[in-house]
């Protein structure tokens, strides 16, 4: 009977949506804990001129991050995944921002806070450490806003 078939179809859709939710939960549980992360050398201080950027992977090989040298003493690094829908942000230090081309989002390059477009949360900041002229990524600071 058509009505019964239609109801069955809707319930199948309902089942698919619940499975989708389960998949998202599984993905978020599978994400590595960001509490204790190993230090990884990402570049040397001399390698990066002022105003230049470098893309690296941290903490996992698929977690793209971007390191930018703002002036001779200041380096900042953020996760490259936009906090709107995960497009890769592009550093634009000359404009003082990280730009997301997907929906015209932008983040302040000094703080990682969203300044334009749909993103509402700051970019996760990568903690840096300097030893003997080398730059190490040593952790991920979770956004607080």
């Amino acid at each position: 009977m058509a009505r019964r078939d239609f109801t069955k179809f809707l319930i199948l859709t309902s089942f698919a949506f619940t499975t989708g939710q389960l998949w998202i939960l599984a993905k978020s549980w599978a994400a590595p804990s960001k509490q204790q992360l190993p230090g990884v050398q990402i570049a040397s201080v001399n390698q990066l001129a002022v105003g230049n950027s470098l893309v690296f992977a941290y903490p996992g090989e698929h977690d793209k991050c971007v390191l930018t040298r703002l002036d001779s003493d200041t380096f900042v690094a953020y996760s490259q995944a936009c906090t709107h829908l995960s497009c890769a942000v592009i550093p634009e230090p000359e404009k003082g921002r990280l730009y997301c081309p997907c929906h015209e989002g932008a983040f302040d390059i000094a703080s990682g806070n969203p300044i334009a477009g749909p993103p509402r949360r700051p970019l996760p900041r990568i903690k840096l450490d300097f030893q003997d002229g080398a730059i190490f990524a040593v952790g991920v600071a979770q956004p607080t806003a």
Binding site: K8, S14, F17
Partner: protein, 78 residues
Amino acid sequence: MTTGKIFTREQRTTIIYGILCIVLLLVVIQLWLLTATMNAFLGGDQAIAFPTLLASAFCLALNLGLLRYVYTIERPQA
């Protein structure tokens, strides 16, 4: 659960269309939940994944209950 025997044909039709409306509404709520969860997940917010899964599973359970009722009500009468 009540059987179809106590309802007339018109009553059954009305009940089934009512149930269909509720099922449709629940599916739309689930779609909204999934979209919102995916949005938050891609934005790095994983805290809402579990509560929304519970809400979605609750909607599915309601839908299954309603489907069972539709089967009961449409069972051919002896």
